[in-house]
């Protein structure tokens, strides 16, 4: 058993309101863990605690072997993060973005150049490597953002609704990219509110109003809730 994320009774409260209410789960190495839930179910809050930018009100958590309360500094080198806004600098070129993000993770220039070239080759971006991000189409930006989030070869990459606002074909291509990353041993923790994306994940947790209401593989959830797809599971749980 090689667990990269271990969470026990994690809670984040804002006054009386519990954005995340006593959740517990594990994620295994190399897994794609789908963190599903409606907008406002507490997915982003949970993710912020796991990435060390939000202090939990109570509960315990370990990511990549480091405590999310006390070992944030070590933890940060082991994780990558991609927000729903893709988070690239529009006024910098592709190469400059990669160089900057590589730089803040402490990579040396040689490594940055090597990995940039590898990434450009893999994604077929030779023509736009010196183009400003603002001139690059959305679907490409998203792939670039993912590659940038994994430029320091983290153990786990957190993806916060990475496919919102992207067309189905690009979404499919994006998932191919995620598979590629897991083949290299990177664990993927992904939030989404597209229920159909659940079938791409190894395991799924379903969050409703701050609580994890269901967790397991797709088949397990479908049989348990006697549903034909995740949408139905979601509707049954949310009711």
């Amino acid at each position: 058993m090689n667990k990269v994320i271990e969470v026990e009774n994690l809670t984040r409260a804002y006054g009386d309101f519990k954005a995340v209410d006593n959740i517990s789960f594990d994620v295994k190495k190399g897994e794609i863990f789908g963190f599903l839930g409606a907008n406002g179910a507490g997915k982003t809050t949970a993710m912020k605690m796991l990435t060390g930018i939000l202090e939990p009100t109570s509960g315990k958590g370990k990511v990549a072997g480091f405590d999310i309360k006390t070992q944030r500094n070590q933890l940060k080198y082991k994780i990558g993060y991609m927000s729903q806004k893709f988070s690239l600098y529009e006024d910098l070129t592709l190469k400059e973005n990669v160089k900057f993000y590589g730089g803040i993770y402490g990579l040396d220039n040689k490594t940055i150049v090597e990995r940039t070239n590898l990434m450009i080759e893999r994604l077929g971006l030779e023509n736009i490597e010196d183009t400003l991000i603002s001139e690059i189409p959305l679907g490409w930006k998203q792939k670039i953002a993912f590659s940038v989030a994994t430029i320091h070869q983290p153990e786990i990459v957190f993806l916060d609704e990475p496919t919102s606002g992207v067309d189905p074909i690009t979404r499919r291509q994006f998932w191919d990219l995620i598979y590629q990353a897991t083949e290299e041993g990177i664990t993927v923790f992904v939030t989404t509110h597209y229920m159909d994306e659940a079938e791409y994940c190894d395991r799924i947790s379903m969050m409703v109003q701050g609580r994890i209401e269901a967790m397991g593989t797709l088949e397990e959830l479908l049989t348990k809730h006697n549903a034909k797809d995740m949408n139905e599971v979601f509707l049954k749980l949310a009711r």
Binding site: I79, S83, F86, S87, L88, E96, Y101, G103
Partner: protein, 366 residues
């Protein structure tokens, strides 16, 4: 260190790729100094005037010559009767009117004093005040020339210290510098931090191993450099174009400028912690910082003539103290021995803002 350099490099790229930022950074200081220096002066030249000369004799002619050759007035109209005075004011062709009574020459040189009437357009009170002031000055000196008693008991010999020619540009150069430094340091910094929040990159930076302190310092250093550059440009323009004096220590001037920039930068960071978007950051900077700074710092309106409540408020405006410091160093040549109080106030406010902004920045992270 590598991490830090990567950050600074990125910040400079943001600045140099944004045309609007560039114009604000490099165009505005020059334009403002030149504008304030040349176009906006508190001294008035060529005030348009009309004269109703009812005396029409040699003395009145001499009197009129004295006024028109002073450079302060231009004789726009020679009026024939009283009713024309108001007409001219209403048309807006004149700012001031002078009525010389028929008895003008007769009264001169006798013990009986003579009266001339001055009517000014007070819809522009500043201008009206100044023009009447000039006119009474000229009239007094004319009266003295014509007086039989050549000596009057008390004679005022005034001397304008530190700015003998009464040049308003000596007031404006420190003022403009203050405004520009405030704008670049506080407003631009708050906007650039808010921008990272708006486009979502701030989250990435916070998740990354970058320490919050490094993020703040990385954001601030480019603007510190540019602010210093701007201060240098403005002072150079002041020296070369307007002949600003530099009586005091350059090192002290530099340190005081640095101190003011640091206080403005920390204000900028403070603003950015409470604003989520660039627009909010800009509005808060403009309304909450620039406006009070321009109005209450004594840059345009003298603090001494403000209502007491505003005078009290003006004490918390760093720019007020900075302007006093700059003027004292440049014009009077005084040192830290005199300026320690103002410097201390700046120092304390800077520290206060720095502590506040670090605190706020941290709270937001939790």
């Amino acid at each position: 260190m590598n991490t830090f350099l990567a950050f600074i490099r990125k910040e400079f790229k943001h600045i140099f790729r944004d045309k609007r930022t560039l114009i604000i950074l490099f165009g505005m200081p020059i334009v403002q100094v030149l504008l304030f220096g040349f176009a906006i002066t508190t001294e008035i030249k060529d005030g348009k005037m009309a004269i109703l000369d009812l005396a029409k004799n040699t003395e009145s002619q001499q009197y009129i010559n004295k006024i028109t050759s002073s450079g302060y007035f231009i004789l726009e109209e020679n009026l024939q009767n009283y009713s024309q005075i108001e007409e001219s004011f209403k048309k807006g062709t004149i700012k001031i009117a002078l009525v010389i009574p028929p008895t003008f020459a007769k009264d001169l040189g006798t013990s009986k004093s003579s009266a001339v009437q001055v009517i000014a357009d007070a819809s522009d009170p500043n201008m009206a005040n100044m023009l009447t002031g000039y006119l009474s000055g000229l009239t007094n000196s004319f009266a003295l020339e014509k007086s039989l008693i050549n000596k009057i008991p008390i004679n005022i010999e005034s001397k304008m210290l530190y700015n003998p020619e009464n040049k308003s540009v000596f007031m404006f150069v420190p003022g403009v510098m203050t405004i520009i430094l405030m704008l670049v340091s506080a407003m631009m910094t708050s906007i650039t931090v808010a921008k990272e929040k708006e486009i979502g990159t701030m989250e990435i930076l916070l998740v990354s191993p970058l320490k919050p302190g490094v993020i703040i310092i990385g954001k601030v250093i480019p603007y510190l450099a540019l602010s210093l550059f701007n201060a240098f440009t403005i002072l150079t323009l002041g020296f070369l174009v307007f002949g600003m004096p530099m009586e005091g220590s350059r090192i002290l001037l530099f340190l005081e400028i640095l101190l003011f920039i640091i206080s403005s930068l920390s204000l900028g960071i403070l603003i950015s912690t409470i604003s989520k978007t660039q627009q909010t950051a800009m509005m808060i900077s403009l309304m909450g910082l620039m406006l009070p700074t321009i109005l209450l710092s004594g840059f345009i309106f003298p603090v001494e003539s403000m209502p007491e409540i505003l005078q009290i408020i003006s004490n918390v405006i760093p720019a007020k103290w900075f302007i006093i410091i700059i003027k004292s160093i440049m014009l009077k040549g005084v040192g830290i021995g005199v300026l320690w109080k103002e410097t201390l106030i700046l120092l304390v406010t800077s520290l206060f803002f720095i502590v506040m902004s670090i605190k706020k920045f941290k709270i937001r992270l939790e």
